[in-house]
C-alpha cells in the first residue's frame, strides 16, 4: 500500500515538473495562477508545522514537541543551517523526555 502511494506521488511530482517545461507558456503565465501557486507551499508547510507539533492522531495535545518547536524557531531566527535546526529540536524533545522520565 505504501509502495502504491510512493509511486503515485512520485509520478504526480514528476508530471508537474514535466508540465512546466512542456505546456504552452501562456497557460502557466496566467496572472492568477502565478499569484496562487507560490502561496500553496507557504500554507501547507505552516499547516504541517502546526499539526505535527500540536496533535497526536485526531487529538490536540501539548507536549515536549511544543518546546522543541520553540527551540527550532530560535535556531531559524539565528539562521542556523537546516540540520542544526532539526537536530536542536529533536535533541530538546529527547532531553525533556529524559528529564520527565
Amino acid at each position: 500500500m505504501i509502495w502504491t502511494g510512493v509511486i503515485a506521488a512520485s509520478a504526480a511530482c514528476y508530471g508537474l515538473k514535466l508540465a512546466g517545461l512542456s505546456l504552452p507558456q501562456r497557460w502557466l503565465q496566467d496572472a492568477r495562477l502565478q499569484r496562487t501557486v507560490p502561496l500553496i507551499p507557504v500554507a501547507l508547510l505552516a499547516a504541517l508545522v502546526a499539526t505535527q507539533t500540536f496533535s497526536s492522531g485526531q487529538h490536540l495535545v501539548l507536549d515536549v514537541r511544543a518546546a522543541a518547536l520553540g527551540v527550532a524557531v530560535i535556531a531559524v531566527a539565528l539562521r542556523a543551517p537546516f540540520l542544526v535546526v532539526v537536530v536542536a529540536a529533536a535533541g530538546t524533545a529527547a532531553l525533556l523526555r529524559l528529564i520527565e522520565g
Binding site: 502511494g5 512520485s10 511530482c13 512546466g20 500553496i40 507557504v42 500554507a43 518547536l69
Partner: protein, 209 residues
C-alpha cells in the same frame, strides 16, 4: 558546491525521519530517487508518520510539487531542452537548480549551472538519504531520540525563507490556525488538504494589487 553539501545534510534528516515514520529503507530511498523534491518528500513521510492515510500524504506531496511547474515555466526558455533532454531535465526542476540557473545572465552559463547543480544534488541527496535511513533503521524507539519533534522543525526550516514579507507571514499563521481548528473533526492528513483548498481559493479570488 555549498548548496550540494547543505542538501546532503538535509537528506540525512529526511532519511532518518522517513524510516522513523515507518517507511522501509527501500521505500525511503525510492522517494529520493523518484520524487526528488525535498518538501514533498518530507510532507509525504510526515503525514504517514502522524497516522494520516498514504493518500493524504501523496496528495500533500503533489500539492507541494505544484511550484515546480512554475519553475519549469521560467526555465524552459533558458534551458531550451528539447528531445531526450526534456524528460531528463524535468526530473531536476527543483528549488535549488532553478535558483542557480536563473541567477546567471548568459543562457549557456544557466544551462551549465542547472545541470551541474542537478547532478551534484541528485547524488548527495540520495547518498544522504541512505545514510539517514540506515542510521535510524537500527533505532528501536525513535521517540526516545526526539525524532517525532524533527518533522515540524524541518517544515519550519523549509518555510522560513518564504516568510520574508508580511503577506506570506499572515497566510502561514492563518493556515496553522485553520489546520489546528479542523484537526479534531477530520481524519489525519485532511486538515492539510482543507488548508490547500482554502489558500488556492484565496489566491484565485482576491483582487490583484
Amino acid at each position: 558546491m555549498g548548496i550540494a553539501i547543505a542538501s546532503g545534510a538535509y537528506a540525512i534528516s529526511f532519511g532518518a525521519i522517513s524510516t522513523a515514520a515507518g517507511l522501509s529503507l527501500l521505500q525511503t530511498c525510492a522517494l529520493s530517487v523518484l520524487m526528488f523534491t525535498g518538501a514533498s518528500q518530507f510532507a509525504m513521510v510526515g503525514v504517514i508518520g502522524a497516522g494520516g492515510s498514504i493518500w493524504a500524504g501523496a496528495a500533500t506531496a503533489a500539492l507541494l510539487g505544484s511550484r515546480n511547474a512554475l519553475y519549469g515555466l521560467r526555465l524552459s526558455s533558458l534551458l531550451n531542452a528539447g528531445g531526450w533532454r526534456r524528460p531528463a531535465a524535468s526530473h531536476f526542476v527543483i528549488d535549488e537548480t532553478t535558483a542557480m540557473a536563473i541567477a546567471r545572465d548568459d543562457p549557456a552559463l544557466s544551462r551549465f549551472a542547472f545541470w551541474t547543480t542537478g547532478f551534484a544534488l541528485f547524488t548527495l541527496w540520495n547518498l544522504g538519504t541512505l545514510v539517514g535511513a540506515l542510521a535510524t533503521h537500527v533505532v528501536a524507539n525513535p521517540k526516545l531520540l526526539g525524532l517525532d519533534a524533527a518533522p515540524p522543525a524541518a517544515f519550519l526550516a523549509l518555510l522560513a525563507p518564504r516568510l520574508r514579507a508580511r503577506e506570506p507571514l499572515a497566510i502561514a499563521l492563518a493556515a496553522g490556525l485553520v489546520a489546528i481548528a479542523v484537526l479534531p473533526f477530520v481524519p489525519a492528513g485532511v486538515p492539510l488538504l482543507i488548508v490547500a483548498l482554502l489558500v488556492s481559493l484565496f489566491g484565485w479570488l482576491r483582487k490583484p494589487r
